[in-house]
């Protein structure tokens, strides 16, 4: 019932302009995120006060929007704008700041992303934000499957940003994983015509049950498991592609995996 029609990714590769295969998998991955020139994509507004995370979500939304009317905007973010959260928190403990600026507070709220996308695309339809750690995108995807059952044409995506504080923390807890910024969005509709792929199901379950599900449904000749983990234990041989290698680590990176 849920068919993917368009997608757009902003990542360390030049994926926004070239797609994932040419922009990322077949080319050398940059160490820094490759932002598109937002002025070219988001026309007619002042981008200066817009947070990076909103720019990414909005640019991806615009790229995914078909000529058909969009009925729903569904956004997943694990941590929303960390940069603005940090900025506002620090201004709270700064004794020299007697008057607080509301801008970082507004930008730190999770649903500012979906709200700004609605505002700038003048979309008055269903609007929602999911935030469930590294399962944020899965909630958004399940809602999108429900929305297509209800006949709606949906924009769904994930977006998160890394800030230097995260790297300091991952060093302190001796984690080898480096956090990155990234975003992927899709246009999903109930219409099969001209679609790129179908979303059959979205399941959240314990690792053991997920492994049973994979083993039961996997055809090792034709299927590929696209996983966010580099190490997976499975009883039979399964072709696995680890997307985190390309996307980097961020909480809504399963959206990149789906792309």
């Amino acid at each position: 019932m849920a068919f993917i029609h368009k997608y757009s990714t902003i990542s360390k590769g030049n994926t926004f302009n070239q797609g994932i295969i040419d922009g990322c998998i077949n080319s050398k991955i940059a160490t820094e995120i490759t932002h598109p020139d937002y002025k070219d994509v988001i026309a007619g507004i002042n981008l200066r006060r817009m947070s990076v995370i909103v720019k990414m979500g909005l640019a991806n939304t615009i790229k995914c929007s078909s000529k058909n009317k969009i009925d729903a905007i569904v956004v997943a973010t694990g941590l929303a704008s960390l940069h603005n959260s940090e900025l506002f928190l620090c201004s709270l403990i700064d004794p020299e700041q007697s008057i607080l600026s509301p801008t970082p507070f507004i930008n730190s709220v999770h649903n500012t992303i979906s709200g700004e996308i609605a505002l700038h695309t003048q979309n008055k339809g269903y609007n929602i934000t999911y935030s469930q750690g590294s399962l944020s995108f899965e909630g958004a995807l399940l809602d999108s499957i429900l929305l297509t059952k209800e006949g709606k044409n949906v924009i769904v995506g994930g977006v998160d940003e890394a800030i230097p504080l995260l790297d300091n923390l991952s060093m302190k807890i001796k984690s080898k994983e480096e956090f990155t910024t990234g975003s992927t969005f899709f246009n999903v509709s109930p219409n099969k015509n001209g679609s790129l792929a179908e979303i059959v199901n979205c399941i959240i379950t314990k690792e053991k049950k997920a492994n049973y599900y994979i083993t039961d449904n996997f055809n090792s000749n034709e299927d590929v498991l696209i996983s966010g983990h580099s190490t997976c234990n499975h009883s039979k041989k399964i072709n696995t592609l680890n997307y985190s290698k390309f996307s980097g680590i961020f909480m809504s990176n399963p959206a990149f995996g789906l792309h």
Binding site: I73, G78, L79, A80, S85, F88, L89, C90, L92, I93, S98, L100, S101, P102, F105, I106, S108, V109, H110, N111, T112, S114, G115, E116, A118, L119, T121, Q122, N123, K124, G125, Y126, N127, I128, T129, Y130, S131, Q132, G133, L135, S136, E138, G139, L142, D143, L146, K149, E150, L169, K172, I173, I203, I204, T205, K206, K209, M251
Partner: protein
């Protein structure tokens, strides 16, 4: 498809359980006072604060002292969720999911890190999903789990998702709710927006200056018939309809004509297959900000006419952000169960822009069959739920 509410749990500034909340509402006892548990607020703020320390809350939540430090929102949520879940058990025959709602998550602990910058592990408490993660483990809910964060409409949207999952056969039973503690982040944030009243908030009053924040958590259990046949739980009320629409007007404010609010309410009526005259009472969002009450008031007037009974219970609890939608849904159930409409406190002067008048004195012995509850917020997010007997 019938979606029954079979369990209720609530903690707020006016009570640590359902009975205490009802008692405060019936006796017009507001929970708004000086916020004194958050240290180092630069000014004095009024808010709906629960006068228990985290240690005391932890003792209620777990029944014994805990070594581990938990965010306050999590403690409030656990207490409310345990009341709602009650004697429910996990059964392989019932597909049970959990949906939470929060805006600040564990922000109170993150604030402490920045002060001391040593307790790094506490940063793990920033993501919004931690409360749902903890509750899912606590109640052994191994299937779908998620958290919605749409500011002040979060819990309402969580209830809407739960209802849609039951309607579409993706769940038989849903533990759904939300919680937000008072934090320095949100109190200062709303103050920086210049919509925090230094006095007691006055919803739908011509002299309203803004909101008072509050802290609360509430959870409910939703079930379909199949689940109720197994659990033998009794129906308390039913979810009849819901609507979600965006204003697409401003980052933080609602459109002055209440376009998004009207759309959300109309969608909910359509889903419930009801007309506006079927609604006995509206529990309004009524935050007491100049913008919300004008926008929402106009939307109610346009859709329901001048005689519609409506009130805001925000002056009892403060604006409890992500929890507001579920706190007020439970108050709506209490209205139905007790044949009572709870009033808008602190109301003195009518708004000249509106022809409708909020309920300002408690109305008892009135038949309330159907209630519409609004939750509007930041980012233009509008959500409406209709419940019935």
């Amino acid at each position: 498809m019938s979606i029954s509410i079979t369990g209720l749990g609530i903690v707020s500034a006016i009570g640590m359980n359902l009975d205490e909340n009802l008692n405060s509402l019936q006796n017009l006892k507001s929970g708004i006072s000086n916020i004194d548990l958050i240290n180092e607020l630069q000014e004095n703020f009024l808010g709906g604060e629960i006068k228990l320390t985290n240690q005391e809350l932890s003792l209620i939540a777990f029944g014994k002292d805990q070594q581990e430090v938990f965010p306050r929102s999590l403690l409030l949520s656990l207490i409310a969720a345990k009341q709602a879940w009650g004697e429910n058990n996990i059964s392989p025959k019932i597909k049970t999911v959990i949906i939470g709602a929060t805006t600040v998550g564990g922000m109170d602990l993150v604030e402490k890190i920045l002060e001391k910058d040593v307790r790094i592990q506490l940063l793990a408490h920033n993501p919004s999903g931690i409360i749902t993660d903890y509750l899912a483990d606590y109640f052994h809910l191994d299937e779908f789990k998620t958290t919605i964060s749409t500011a002040c409409s979060s819990a309402a949207n969580a209830i809407i998702l739960g209802s849609r999952m039951i309607k579409n056969g993706l769940a038989d039973r849903v533990l759904v709710g939300g919680g937000d503690a008072l934090t320095k982040f949100t109190v200062n944030g709303f103050n920086s927006l210049r919509i925090y009243d230094t006095d007691f908030c006055k919803p739908f009053d011509n002299n309203r200056k803004g909101l008072n924040l509050g802290e609360a958590a509430a959870y409910i259990v939703l079930e379909n018939k199949k689940s109720m046949a197994i659990t033998k739980n009794k129906k308390v009320a039913s979810i009849l309809g819901w609507g979600n629409a965006n204003d697409a007007y401003h980052q933080t404010a609602s459109s002055p004509n209440g376009e998004g609010a009207q759309k959300a309410m109309q969608l909910a009526l359509d889903e419930a297959k009801l007309s506006s005259k079927d609604i006995d009472y509206i529990n309004a969002h009524g935050t007491a900000t100049p913008n919300n009450d004008l926008s929402e008031g106009r939307a109610i007037e346009k859709l329901f006419g001048q005689k519609q009974l409506f009130s805001s219970t925000k002056a009892f609890t403060g604006h409890t952000l992500a929890a507001a939608g579920i706190i007020e849904l439970i108050y709506s159930i209490l209205s139905i169960k007790n044949n009572t409409i709870f009033p808008t406190l602190n109301h003195n002067a009518l708004m000249p822009e509106l022809k409708i008048t909020p309920v300002t004195n408690i109305i008892e012995n009135i038949t309330v069959n159907t209630v519409l509850s609004n939750s509007f917020g930041f980012g233009g997010n509008n959500a409406t739920i209709i419940i019935g007997k």
